[in-house]
Point group: C2
Chain length 134, copies 2
Amino acid sequence: MTEISNAEFEVLEALWQNHPASANDIITKLNENTNATGIESQDKQWHDKTVKTLLNRLVKKQAISFEKQQRHYLYSPLLEREAYTLKESKSLVARMFSGKLAPLVAGFAKQNELNKDDISALKSLISDWEKNND
Amino acid sequence: MTEISNAEFEVLEALWQNHPASANDIITKLNENTNATGIESQDKQWHDKTVKTLLNRLVKKQAISFEKQQRHYLYSPLLEREAYTLKESKSLVARMFSGKLAPLVAGFAKQNELNKDDISALKSLISDWEKNND
DNA sequence: GAGTTAAGATTACATTTGTAATCTTAACTG
DNA sequence: CAGTTAAGATTACAAATGTAATCTTAACTC
């Protein structure tokens, strides 16, 4: 499958969060620009035409499908989010860290990008792994 | 700083591995296409002109510098590898996992992408972290 | 010193990407 | 049913990217 660009990914993300969805649903979701505090955030505004172009490209790339619904289409992801994020993660780890995950984690640790919760989550993942690989 | 493209990254990688280096040094390194078994691998061949274009672009992007040495240049990285890989890692984790590292690791675990060594390395990182954050 | 060459500089060109505007036409409306 | 409209289809266009070829000229060679 062809690569998905950054802008395409954002559209796909909106679709993963809520599908099937019409183009307008997706545009609306992308433009929901109030943050957690309810304050208008200065996030980029997505233009109607832009999003539709990206939807078209995603269809061509077979990342999403659509079915006709009266006058408009309802789109759905074909690509699973988890599969996609894993593929991208593996690709980055392969390119930057010779395929090893630890150096990536080490980078985060070194720059104080980890907090107690992150560490707990990692410990829990490790203990699960050990349960399944004794 | 502007983004570094994939092809540019590969050139930069060669430079990180050995610098300062002339364009020819870099081209040679990129084309070292024998793998660990000594068998000729079918890796892509980098064309002289292509690499030089990429070096130029990296200079424009201020990712590398050069100094004149007789007839040719000696290039050196300006960008630190560790800083760059951390930035890219954080960017991916932000985009795909809401900034949380654990889900990325979980993806690897789920797909059996982790072995005993990886787990040991992670445990060691965690214990270091805990030593510094009690 | 004149000629040759090889490095880097400049130019090229197709594809992809971001970002839309315009075109067509099926579907709604009165 | 005719007119209007809004969805999607098609076209547009600049910047970035991958991949080189051609141009210039300083540096080597005889």
